[in-house]
Subunit: 246 residues, 4 copies
């Protein structure tokens, strides 16, 4: 269609690594764009019936996740989630490539992608690009009263399940399994299953259906960290023999 | 993420068997958590339109079943259902492993898992963990009047179909086929297709969308037993030649 | 679960053929039971929103068709539709087995199955087993006024598409393709895509969401026959080289 | 079913090429018929809830796209979209066949198919065959006021994503990936993702749910062209090494 200028020679990373970071950036951006954009569309069209809005949000997320993991997985593994990157790095995966530097750059690409994805959704729907969510989720309501531990437990459960699926899914079915898992967890967890600190960041920046107030974000991220640990343990207890247990 | 203490040496079962029981426990818990949790979420959001609530409940169940069978199937076979365990045991499946002791422990793990799953859903949605359903299903209404045989027939049909699918599905498509079968049966059977005594137990403990009153439970379980028998016969009549018919 | 008495020795058909007829009977019964049962459930729950009812009816039909074709296809080919049987027989498929007698018995099994399926749905939902639809579809409205050719054209289009999919689907994807095709055609054809004379018979016997008045049935069946012919021609024009064109 | 007259000997294209053009015509017609027909059905049944209508429209489109690409892909590659044809032709795909003449005829077949599909939908739903949409999309509202760049950005994003999926999907998963991508993009792009100039043409001819006013069409097509270019670049930046970058 047109000429592409060669990438600047000053980049220090090997080319393949650049492709991986771009894939993580693009994939996480597209994921957040899908989650937030479909949430805006669904809220606008659903006439106040939140169940219909969440159904549409669920379908769009499941379809998008499936496509993104299939298409970008061969490049970067399609993490799109700092906890997935951390868990795989902690297990030395992928072999010969798992370095702290790589994990940190992956996470940076994911966080930048999440922000870009939220902003792209806002631009498409003609709303302010820069905004912050006012939707309190978990812990305390607007009056400052404690509303229960449920949302945090839900995030922990959601993330534990996601990590279990990521660690145990057969490679050729991973895209479908992760997408379907999130589709189920949107409904069976009380928090609609963020299960991803990059998603928390992107959603924090959107005052819409899928948003989360910045004050609620730390609770969600801590719960997700705990859940990721639970997922790792659960996978081990189910007989993961390739991992050292000492 | 952290160290795992070795499992106590006093366990008498071989390690593989422990993994299987844990898989049956975790899988049945996750299944019931998905069924009950998505039912609570759907009822809260659907503004009184029960069809939308059941649609969401259906999608969450289908996605969850598919993922659980794919992920845990390689460990335990992913029964999550005492009738599936009984039918396979009665056929001597899996070869060399089918013992009465194994079947009993599987069923115990499933029943415990169903209870744990219901309770986990309640904890996530900040409702009382311990509760009992008041939803009458089948036989008699709240006024004590007989309301027809339909719900019981529906459970028998639902279970017969499930067993037929379990016995005849090609191994690599079993997860998708069982999940889709249940998705259809949620709608075409009048009982929304429990088809699983462990599910009856878990749902009995939840006064929510997916619940069943304890007084209605025995009727459902008996119908499911009859349906499982019908499913075994139907599979045989369709030409199952590897099973002794005498 | 129990002993099975040997089938009576007086049957003249080879055993394999009996299995095929049973598979066509059971499959068509289950299909109609799913279509009609989910229609009744959806209509009861949807609070008058017909789009939600048809969405649920669509999902249940797609799931059921996929499961039935995968599970029973290895036995009989999973026609469940007289036009599929006729088209395949006219092409001499399956090789060495395509006889007029076989085609006639297949169609008889399908028609009996359709009736049994409708009645099973009625029994499960505690409504009269024997009933006739009063829903006029195509041609004339209740006042006897001609309402347009659209419904008949829709049935022809729906059936042409189904036959095209049946003739050209790769064998290992046929179940998913037929199921998805019908799922789409429920919405894009004005008639909600019966595309099957056995389905017309079963639905004629149900005064519910999925029903069709007996007076509307002949128009639908004629349109389906024309559509099947169009599907055969279209497949040929697309380069079906194994079929004689003279 | 009946005899087919041989195609006239005067055709200059080799037979295989004729099959391809017919496949592009039939596939694009069926796609537009599915999009527009399901839009009409959904709007009629949804009682004014646009989210439910778009959900049904989405499901029908996803199912139809999946089936059409699987069934017609082996014949023509199942482009159904001038931009897909242009992008593949610009890359010299398929090898040995990519000529300007072929690309032009493909696009002509797609545009004719889109018109035929819109008209077929209208005929089935008993509305005027020839009509024009009055639905303004993008740029200016009915009062002539500029309403923002969002819709055009959305079309560019939607098309970039589609081209990325087309260029990078594994061949055996392309049908599912393209269908799921469009299903997601119906919701996450503000424009409901036309992403196809042939679709713009067909929808322009339908004053219904899926329509677009002729005055809005040029903006959409230009945005799609820009998006296709972005998709080509993005695929290159992700490491497409078989393409010359000079």
């Amino acid at each position: 269609m047109s000429q592409v200028r060669p990438l600047p020679a000053s980049r220090v990373l090997p080319k393949t690594h650049q492709h991986q970071l771009l894939a993580e950036f693009v994939g996480t951006a597209a994921l957040l764009c899908a989650v937030i954009g479909s949430g805006i569309m669904a809220e606008r069209l659903s006439g106040g019936n939140t169940a219909i809005a969440l159904l549409a949000n669920t379908l769009a997320t499941v379809f998008a996740l499936y496509v993104l993991i299939e298409v970008l997985g061969p490049i970067s593994g399609a993490h799109f989630n700092p906890l997935v990157t951390l868990v795989l790095w902690s297990k030395g995966l992928p072999a010969q490539e798992a370095s702290p530097q790589r994990a940190i750059l992956f996470i940076a690409a994911q966080l930048l992608g999440a922000v870009a994805g939220a902003w792209a959704a806002h631009a498409m729907f003609d709303v302010s690009v820069l905004q912050f969510s006012s939707k309190l989720r978990g812990g305390w309501n607007a009056a400052g009263q404690f509303s229960g531990w449920g949302q945090w437990l839900a995030e922990a459960v959601a993330t534990a399940g996601l990590i279990l699926v990521v660690l145990r899914a057969p490679k050729d079915k991973a895209a479908a399994l992760v997408a379907c898992y999130i589709g189920a967890a949107y409904w069976f967890t009380a928090s609609t299953s963020f299960a991803n600190p990059a998603a928390v960041l992107g959603r924090m920046l959107s005052d819409s259906f899928a948003g989360i107030a910045p004050t609620s974000a730390p609770g969600f991220v801590i719960a997700e960290l705990a859940g990721a640990g639970m997922g790792v343990l659960l996978s081990r207890w189910l007989g993961e023999t390739t991992i050292e247990t000492a």
